[in-house]
Amino acid sequence: MPETDHPRMGRPTKGPAFFPTLTLLFLLGPVLAGLLGTLLPSFGLLRPSGAAAFSLEPWTALAEWPGLARSLWLSLKTGVIATLIAFVLAVLLVAGWQGTRWFKVAHGLLSPLLSLPHTAAALGLAFLIAPSGWVARLMSPWATGWNRPPDILVLNDPGGWSLIFGLVLKELPFLLLMLIATLPQLQVRDRTNVATALGYGAVLGWCLTVLPGAYRQTRLPVYAVLAYAISNVDMALILGPTAPPVLSIQILNAMNDPDLGLRAPAAAAALLQLVLVLVALIIWKAGEVAGATCVQALLWRGARGNSLAFRALKPIGLSTVTATAVLLFSGLLAHFLWSVTGRWRFPDVLPQSFKTRTWDRAGEDLLFTGFTTVSLAFLVAVVALALVIGCLETEHRRGRAMGTGGVLILYIPLILPQISFLPGLQILLLLAGVNHGIWPVAVAHLVFVLPYVFLTLAGPFRAWDRRLATVASALGHSQQSILWRVKLPMMLAPILIAIAIGMAVSVGQYLPTLLASGGRVETLTTEAIALASGGNRREIGVWAITLTFAAWIPFLFAYALPALMFRNRKGMTNG
């Protein structure tokens, strides 16, 4: 008898997979179109006038940009240094403290900060470290002698250090949680116990036995952080240097300039930004090799990491991570205080009087923009959810998990700089005449929401016990019935978390919102950044607080709803 292909789970398995194809289209379509829209104009093709002839003119024009070399250097420097500091601090905390009570406290403090929008974090830090900010107030006049805000440049310093500070604060929670997520598969306790028994100090022992495995799995998130740090617009607008600014801001300014002649050099600069990210990745790769060599050398020298220098690393890890959490939360508190402040004289630590007028005045505007932001985020998150569930269910029915190639594809939109392909997308949308309304914005957001939703759901879906499906189908239920009545209800908690994460990502998007709508769709993030330059702290406070809560409230539902619905189902609390 010939070997028959078994009708797996009773479903045809041939033909193109609908959901994976559609997901790939939404994920990479805008990215590739955007890159094309950047590439063509930077070589003289696709001009606003309609004329097209190959030319290097945009590049020669770009070379003339004032301060270009300095901008390139600033982007590279701020990005690489911030990522390195954030990564080292994350490693120090996990290496020195995991498994302790302090670690749990730090973890608990940082988890909500993961979804704090970049804009709110940057504005909060600006409130703290400005010459008239909280830090200066706390130390004045008793320590500094200042009775009025000093005339010094702290924010937007030409060296980019306040930007580095802000990037470290915001990326540390992300890298830390990514690192922690790898630990359950690495038998950390056994490995560190062996290292301790052989006389190794906590930090070095962890770095020798756990870090190589942990780093292998956090590499892509680290690259995403590096790429973001080098090419971001939102934090650089608030904290970054101004004369000249980092490259991404130069590009944005040129794109927004009424002089359409600047578009082509801006496109060339966007490609240059892409090259810069690649250069940074190469530098980082070299750093990986150097780091591994150092660790190897320590191993062969027989270092045990018990010297004072090594032991000092432990408290540094805990204190800097705690300080990060304290600073980010203080920034939020400062936003809130400013939003209800009547009078707040320098150097008073607290306002003298309170009022709700700033909220009242923002009222309708705030409500409308908040509603737009949240409904857009919900729409995008739900579409992403449907696509991702479709992909994972296809995977389940075909029994083939996506390979490493698939994971790489998911990271493409997170590693390619937004500023390199979104201007191109804007140019294409403009040419196609669809550069207005909410839909192009939703499509642009989807590109960045999809990867996070996928990465959140893939674990729980793949870990689901397939035998439950066997039992259900033996009881006479079809694939469809099993999906809707068994699998999805069991996945309620991870699904709601994925929606919340997707919404937080969408709420925080600045550049996609700005460029895909030609500046005509206003969200809490775009408004908060627009206000940042004006410097009205009360207004900034109102918008930043609203922005933060727009990102956080979905998480409240995500945690409360399953707990409420399955309060009598103990088997659901761990799954």
Binding site: G399, R466, V471, G571
Partner: protein, 219 residues
């Protein structure tokens, strides 16, 4: 469902399971009469559970199968799993954690069953779990869970029963009682049973034919 005696029961003809690489794991020829039990024994990893998955139609794509499975004169190989009318019990009782005990049982009732609530109440009484309808399955003892899983499977009116190490998680005393219950129900409903186990006592309790497989050849 009256068929000629010679054709009723579960028949495996040259049923073979392979790895995707083509390596053959097992081949079985067997005829199991209604109310009787075929026991398949052998060390773990030899492909016993894979064989059951081939029978239920839920084979993972890492495996393939060939041959035929006939149940009361129906050829099953091209029938989707949900239409095969095979009940299966695993060692973990696999009650759905988001359903109550009663909802778990109702989930097994065929779509057009009448008086569903009454049927579920009756079923609970049959397994001495009267009053457990709205209970959380996670709050039941191992034995209670095993009985709910068995009853859920019987309510779906299967025409044959597959047991995949179904008793191995239960402690000694409970195991004997559960075995008696399962085999009694199978005999009462005249279901052919295929049991996969590594426990000699299970095999003896089943009092039917035993197929033993040698350890897999080292590759």
């Amino acid at each position: 469902m009256d068929k000629a005696a010679s054709q009723s029961g579960l028949t495996l003809s040259d049923l073979s399971v392979y790895r995707r690489s083509g390596e053959k794991l097992l081949q079985v020829n067997a005829h199991v009469l209604p109310g009787r039990t075929l026991t398949i024994m052998g060390p773990s990893g030899i492909g016993k559970s894979t064989l059951l998955a081939a029978i239920t139609g839920t084979l993972s794509p890492d495996f393939r199968c060939s041959g035929s499975v006939r149940l009361n004169d129906r050829e099953l190989m091209q029938v989707p799993p949900e239409k095969r009318r095979l009940g299966i019990l695993f060692q973990d009782h696999l009650l759905f954690p988001h359903f109550s005990v009663a909802q778990n049982l109702a989930f097994g009732l065929p779509p057009r069953t009448k008086h569903r609530r009454a049927r579920v109440e009756q079923a609970l009484e049959d397994i001495d779990l009267k009053g457990f309808a709205s209970r959380d399955p996670a709050s039941l003892s191992g034995g209670q869970r095993a009985r709910v899983a068995l009853m859920r499977m019987l309510l779906s009116e299967p025409e044959a029963l597959l047991l995949d190490e179904a008793f191995s998680r239960l402690d000694q005393d409970l195991r004997a009682r559960m075995r008696r219950l399962v085999f009694a129900k199978a005999e009462q409903a005249q279901l052919p049973v295929i049991m996969v186990t590594h426990d000699q006592e299970d095999a003896e309790a089943a009092a039917g034919d035993i197929l033993r497989f040698p350890p897999p050849l080292a590759t």
